[in-house]
């Protein structure tokens, strides 16, 4: 934060940092306006203005006759839980669950040239056509992930006619009775290449998540191979764990 910025903005920055660092916990009362004014040697009006804006932004709320409290619980990042078995996961479902509006941009779709790599991971023959869908996933108009998905076309003959900016891929796969239900997953922190950095609007070479998942339907037929590049500022990954023998 630049010292030349207006004081009320600097003060907002102090308070939001303390919320993020959990110095001020969700539901907790923050120092009074008078105390804040004294601590930082600023005018009461400046404090009022900073707090008003943070109330508007949903960080704080006022309780009549009592004080200002940190809003709870505030999720700054979306909670991505891919590994739960037997549940329709995926970004669309995750956004729905957190009550957020999502949107997809289709970058490209169509048949891939014959590939050993994709045939191997999809468990098909090299002669079988692999169909790909490249999408940018947006939440509140911010790109949260770039997803490259490949499916064996033989299970989805009419897939080229579907508009995946309007229809969820998993809903479509479900309608064709091949909804992915079981997953192999790999999560890794990688450097953003030029293309993914551009699409996620992050700097090239900055660290992002890459998730590779292979999805199989209820009969354990592999129906999906996806590489997702995810902006770590907007999504964190949660997993339920269990004891292994």
């Amino acid at each position: 934060m630049d010292y030349r910025m207006p004081l009320y903005i600097q003060l907002q920055d102090i308070i939001t940092k303390k919320i993020e660092e959990q110095v001020f916990l969700p539901g907790e009362k923050i120092p009074s306006e008078r105390e804040l004014a004294e601590t930082y040697g600023v005018n009461r009006m400046t404090v009022k203005r900073a707090i008003n804006q943070l109330v508007e932004k949903g960080y704080l709320h006022r309780v009549q006759g009592s004080g200002t409290y940190v809003d709870k619980p505030r999720r700054t990042k979306l909670n991505m839980e891919l590994s739960t078995e037997d549940r329709n996961t995926g970004i669309t479902a995750m956004l729905k669950k957190s009550g957020m509006q999502g949107r997809n941009i289709v970058l490209g779709q169509g048949d891939l040239e014959p590939s050993d790599y994709y045939a191997y991971y999809l468990g098909i023959r090299k002669e079988d056509t692999v169909w790909g869908l490249h999408r940018v996933r947006l939440s509140k108009e911010k790109p949260i992930a770039v997803e490259y998905t490949y499916v064996p076309k033989k299970y989805f003959e009419d897939i080229d006619q579907i508009d995946f900016e309007k229809v969820s891929l998993y809903d479509y796969m479900d309608a064709r009775d091949h909804l992915p239900r079981h997953f192999n997953q790999e999560l890794q922190a990688v450097e953003a290449g030029e293309k993914e950095a551009g699409l996620l609007q992050v700097e090239k070479g900055s660290t992002i998540f890459r998730v590779i998942y292979i999805g199989a339907d209820k009969n354990y037929t592999i129906v999906e191979y996806t590489e997702a590049y995810v902006n770590p500022e907007l999504i964190e990954f949660h997993y339920q764990t269990e004891a292994v023998q």
Binding site: D116, A189, T241
Partner: protein
Amino acid sequence: MKLLNKDAFIAREIKYFIMKEKLTEYMKLPAERELAEHFQVQRATVRSALQMLVTEGVIEARKRSGYYIRPQKIEEGLRGISSFSQKALECGKQLSNELLAFERIETDKGLSAKIRQPIGFRMYKITRVRYLKNEGIRLPVALDYSFIPEQIAPKLMKYNLEERSLLEILKAEYQAAPARGEQIVEIVYANQEEAKVLQVSNMTPLVKKTGITYDADEQLIEYIFSIKRKDWVVFKQCNPLIDQKLGGEQYGL
């Protein structure tokens, strides 16, 4: 329009080639020219594909020598609870750990909120560095902070945590067996302590794993956060029934 650029496509095919030829860590890749011939593409395309695999951490370039398979990363489960020493056994690497601190603490506000206990809850705090031996060099790969409630493991300090695994001690000496938990994976940037211990510069991107574990009676057993070098860790969860299907009948790898 083509879905995948030629270099991105070839990068995947090279990954398949590595798997098919069973090239493992430290082994050399064929020369650019040979790969270009093999895949029937321009050398420039192969060069660009190899560069992508370097960025991805699959291979590394050595000056005037060529491309080599990068040493294997430490694989961690996404859903299973296992100890560091167990992971070491699984990936066949020489791993060791160093105890930096073993303290008795009372939880502060921040920690109490995370473990849902009142402030002043008594815990052991164990700070350890995990090392991996790579080409004769002892490389720090993770800085782990474990918090164990004193009530479930009184006198924990008498055990040697450099030689025995913490989970094993809890199980053998205190009959405390983890049953379920939650974990979160995030990207963080090295603070001064992390940078010093992990031998990276300040603000280097690192992977942070936070985990909380309970026993079958929902009693807290361990709270851990682990700061890891991102180039040495990969989180994986495999389903054996899917593994069987990979490669179908044609590939049989």
